[in-house]
């Protein structure tokens, strides 16, 4: 049983809840393997995708998950601008609820927006990414993928590489994987890895070779071009020379290492095509697992009594 009607972040989940979501996702993955990839479990419910930031992959993943559970899906794509004066956030959300939404999947550029909605709405609010806070379903599908490939998570050496500071995916992964007992390493330039994360029990590496030794799982993060202009690193060329994943660097990890990426990838910058398309990559499976995990989350949230 999940304890809250909403999924706001990994920080708000207990280990039992995380495991329940992952175990249930396995049952949903079976559904996705069939010809008829649909179950009537949430028939008659309504899902609203409220995306204030553009996104194709996450939104379609949620849309598919919602449809496969037989809910009706509405997509609201709201243009983002802090300058545009228009309907307030709360008003938009109340309107959506008045339309009968049972699930609101929200992505927004400001951290804490899902929490604000959850407090003020009866619907189940699912965080699809808020500012630089969290992206919990991404972390859950990453954990599911790792568990499928490695049978367990506790005790694994897992490295997250890239712009940790601005990555909500990285944060959710850190919280989820440490909760499940993995040993997490963060690799990247000092300007992109906040020192105080050490207090969460992770190790920090600024040298890629040192950080990769003996790693079981590699999670590569997308480098955002905008960061280049603000003094976080001098050029993408320099970034890729020091922290890009190449076959030589990959050899330093364990032989059966798996390579993950939340997408979309900057081929040639943080990761070379040879690896992205190679045998160690599970990037496409992450996408499939994403639907199963999101179905699991929606199914379990629907059972929480208001």
């Amino acid at each position: 049983m999940l304890n809250n009607k909403d999924l706001l972040g990994i920080k708000e989940l207990s280990v039992q809840e995380i495991n329940l979501i992952l175990d249930t996702a396995a049952g949903f993955k079976d559904v996705l393997g069939r010809d008829i990839k649909k179950v009537p479990a949430l028939r008659g419910k309504t899902t609203v995708n409220l995306f204030f930031e553009p996104s194709t992959r996450t939104r379609t993943s949620f849309e598919l998950a919602a449809k496969r559970l037989s809910t009706d899906v509405i997509n609201f794509s709201v243009p983002t601008s802090s300058v545009v004066k228009g309907e307030s956030l709360i008003d938009t959300a109340l309107t959506v609820q008045a339309l009968g939404a049972d699930f609101i999947i929200i992505r927004h550029a400001s951290s804490g927006v899902p929490h604000l909605l959850a407090k003020n709405l009866n619907a189940s609010v699912i965080n699809a990414g808020d500012g630089t806070n969290e992206h919990p379903t991404q972390a859950l599908l990453d954990a599911f993928t790792i568990q499928e490939k490695k049978r367990k998570i506790a005790g694994l050496e897992i490295a997250i590489v890239g712009d940790i500071m601005h990555s909500r995916v990285a944060k959710s992964n850190i919280y989820c994987l440490t909760a499940l007992g993995a040993r997490v390493r963060l690799i990247g330039p000092p300007t992109l890895i906040p020192e105080n994360l050490k207090a969460m029990g992770v190790s920090l590496f600024h040298n890629m070779e040192d950080g990769l030794r003996g790693v079981d799982v590699l999670i590569m993060l997308r480098i955002q071009m905008e960061r280049q202009g603000k003094g976080f690193f001098p050029s993408t060329d320099e970034y890729s020379k020091n922290w890009g994943l190449t076959p030589e660097r990959l050899c330093l990890a364990k032989e059966d290492v798996i390579v993950m990426h939340p997408g979309p990838m900057n081929r040639g910058i943080e990761i070379v095509s040879e690896i992205a398309d190679g045998p160690r990559s599970v990037i496409l499976e992450q996408v499939t697992n994403g639907i199963a995990v999101r179905m699991s989350v929606m199914y379990l949230l629907s059972g929480v009594k208001r």
Binding site: M1, T24, A26, G27, F28, D30, V31, R34, D35, I36, K38, V39, P40, A41, L42, S296, Y299, L300, S302, G303, K305
Partner: protein, 185 residues
């Protein structure tokens, strides 16, 4: 307060008889398969398949089916049903499926199971084998093969224990606290 209705030997004899009946009615094992309903039917299906193999010297496919997502009471239950694995590693089209469950009660689980099966494929026919039929049907569902008929009151619960779960084989009947308890899990 509980009473044991069947012990290990009773159970085994009932399963042996049911295996023979299944083979007889289907005139052999051609295009036959067994699918156990999670959770109670899974081990029973495996045991029946083993017995059928012993008798006919032919192996028949066995699968397991989770019906949680097809239940008709998802909105009203206090707690959500656990979603378990559905493992049907064979194509069901044109096969004769024998659904296996431990206790047949209202018939709603079987209705859910049939809907789930239809989303997996188009079987040639569906038959039903249950270890215990305890009456109180709410839908027009009938078992083709029954281990034992046990008339019960709504205040009672029937439980099947199996060795595979770590307890000795047996069937017990218990007076429950309230009239509900129709949800199997």
């Amino acid at each position: 307060m509980s009473k044991k209705l069947m012990n290990k030997k009773d159970l085994d004899r009932a399963l042996t008889r049911m295996a023979h009946e299944i083979i007889e009615k289907n005139k052999g094992t051609s295009r036959l398969c067994l699918i156990g309903i999670q959770r109670g039917g899974v081990y029973l299906a495996q045991r029946l398949a083993a017995k059928i193999q012993e008798i006919e010297k032919k192996e028949i496919p066995v699968g397991s089916l989770d019906i949680a997502l097809y239940r008709d009471d998802l909105n009203i239950r206090k707690q959500q049903p656990v979603v378990r694995r559905t493992e049907v590693p064979f194509a069901v089209n044109d096969l004769k499926i024998v659904l296996v469950d431990d206790v047949l009660f209202t018939g709603r689980s079987i209705r859910s199971a049939m809907d789930a099966l239809m989303d997996i494929g188009r079987p040639a026919s569906i038959q039903l084998a249950v270890l215990i039929d305890r009456g109180h049907r709410e839908l027009p569902i009938k078992a083709d093969y029954v281990g034992k008929n046990i008339p019960t009151s709504l205040r009672e619960t029937v439980e099947v224990q199996m060795e595979e779960e770590g307890v000795e084989d047996g069937v017990t009947i218990r007076k429950s606290e309230s009239v509900e308890g129709k949800g199997a899990e």
